[in-house]
């Protein structure tokens, strides 16, 4: 038995995204955002996308490019406060934004990756974020049903990958990437280093290879990946 090689060219991997697709994009701020995959998606120009991402990056970075190019119909996110342009587009009615509590977004994606239908939680019961969502009682206490989230394609950023798609993340660049890498019909991982089979110790793997469809090696890291001076 030998594990297959999933290394794929950038253009080819991203070409699997269709107009109207729902895509998950890893990252929390800069760390873990797959800037190279996003740039290629901007270049290819698929439209009508629903994007699930923790935040909207900052202006001129990451998914802001997708917002500017008009490729995004809807954004499911937890906080877009660092991107003034995203706020303007939302206010102008040019994108729809659905907000979700951050950890509940993580668990809805986990549930999607785990093949569950939904989770039940009391988070946000006092807030408008749960308005209109179905309620249920668990042990006599009120709770809300939050449906699982899945995507057609997930774009994740890894520090390291072997050719089978076993992934390792660096520091807090992990964030939403592991859950997203389990919750999409097609998972595309960009990796700063691509290792041969056996290059990652089996107990040091953060995302197991069977969840990953394409490994795209990064030849250079653009300015977007670097330390941001504020």
């Amino acid at each position: 038995m030998r594990l297959p090689d999933k290394t794929t060219r950038l253009e080819e991997a991203v070409a699997h995204i269709r107009d109207g697709a729902t895509i998950m994009v890893g990252g929390f701020g800069v760390p873990g955002t797959p800037f190279t995959l996003i740039r290629e998606l901007v270049r290819q120009g698929q439209t009508g996308l629903t994007v699930i991402k923790n935040d909207a990056n900052e202006q001129d970075m990451g998914i802001d490019h997708l917002l500017v190019s008009g490729q995004v119909r809807k954004l499911i996110s937890t906080h877009i406060g660092l991107n003034r342009r995203a706020i303007e587009l939302l206010n102008a009615g040019r994108i729809e934004v659905e907000f979700c509590a951050q950890g509940i977004l993580a668990e809805r994606i986990h549930a999607g990756g785990a093949g569950l239908k939904a989770i039940v939680t009391d988070i946000g019961l006092a807030t408008e974020l749960t308005a209109g969502k179905p309620r249920v009682e668990i042990d006599g206490e009120a709770a809300v049903i939050e449906t699982a989230l899945r995507a057609d394609v997930a774009l994740v950023h890894a520090d390291r990958s072997d050719v089978f798609g076993n992934l390792g993340y660096a520091a807090v660049a992990r964030n939403f990437n592991p859950m997203m890498a389990m919750a999409a019909d097609r998972v595309i991982a960009e990796a700063e280093t691509v290792l041969p089979l056996g290059g990652l110790a089996p107990d040091a793997v953060h995302t197991p290879g069977p969840f990953v469809d394409h490994v795209v090696g990064l030849e250079a890291l653009s300015e977007e990946y670097q330390v941001v001076r504020r």
Binding site: M1, L3, A114, G115, L116, P208, G209
Partner: protein
């Protein structure tokens, strides 16, 4: 029959081989064959079995056999392991059966009156693997057919079985019920029909033999 079952494993698949007969399918794959074997106790990329003397106490498969890793293997927890099963990442599982109905219903975990020790991960494998192949004798020890119109035993999952490979034949579950695909060497169509508890669609012309 086990060798025939190995033919179900196309290159590049993620495969879970159930306890018992299915486990032995791996002996019929070449060491260079591109496949990722999954064990529900937390391993993707199962390597060859290991004898007692060379065993790692922390490296068993879900059936309790000592196994090894191969380059690219990964360990993970039970949540992740079944996430893989339930979310459509398990291309194929091979399971045993007490009964398979012509609708693809599977009963393989409990016989009422007899004690059942629990289903383990069997429901999830049967219900969620993208393809379910049953590997079983064609009849039980009393000679009763295991392929039936309707399961009488408690179900594991509904409509989940795609193909049954037995000591007599390869039979697919189709919208029209059971369809004969192949015959074991030396077995005739009439024999298979008599050993099957539901109507069997038999193709025109030559039937492949394994």
């Amino acid at each position: 029959m086990v060798a025939r079952a190995a033919g179900e494993i196309a290159p590049g698949l993620v495969v879970n081989l159930g306890i018992g007969l299915p486990t032995r399918v791996v002996d019929h794959l070449s060491s260079d064959f591109p496949v990722c074997l999954h064990s529900e106790n937390g391993l993707a990329g199962i390597g060859p079995s290991v004898p007692f003397e060379a065993a790692d106490r922390n490296l068993i498969d879900a059936g309790g056999s000592y196994v090894s890793t191969i380059p690219g293997s990964a360990f993970f927890d039970s949540s992740t392991s079944f996430a893989l099963v339930r979310s459509g990442r398990l291309d194929l599982t091979m399971l045993g059966a007490f009964e398979v109905a012509e609708t693809g219903d599977l009963a393989n975990w409990k016989i009422p009156g007899k004690f059942s020790p629990g289903v383990g991960g069997g429901i999830e494998l049967a219900q969620k693997a993208l393809r379910v192949v049953v590997l079983s004798t064609h009849t039980d020890r009393q000679g009763n057919p295991k392929l039936v119109k309707t399961c009488t035993l408690p179900l594991t999952a509904r409509g989940c079985v795609n193909r049954i490979i037995t000591d007599m034949a390869v039979i697919d579950v189709t919208p029209q019920g059971f369809a004969l695909r192949e015959l074991a060497d030396g077995v005739g169509v009439r024999e298979v029909e008599e050993a099957t508890g539901a109507p069997l669609t038999v193709p025109d012309g030559d039937i492949p033999v394994y």
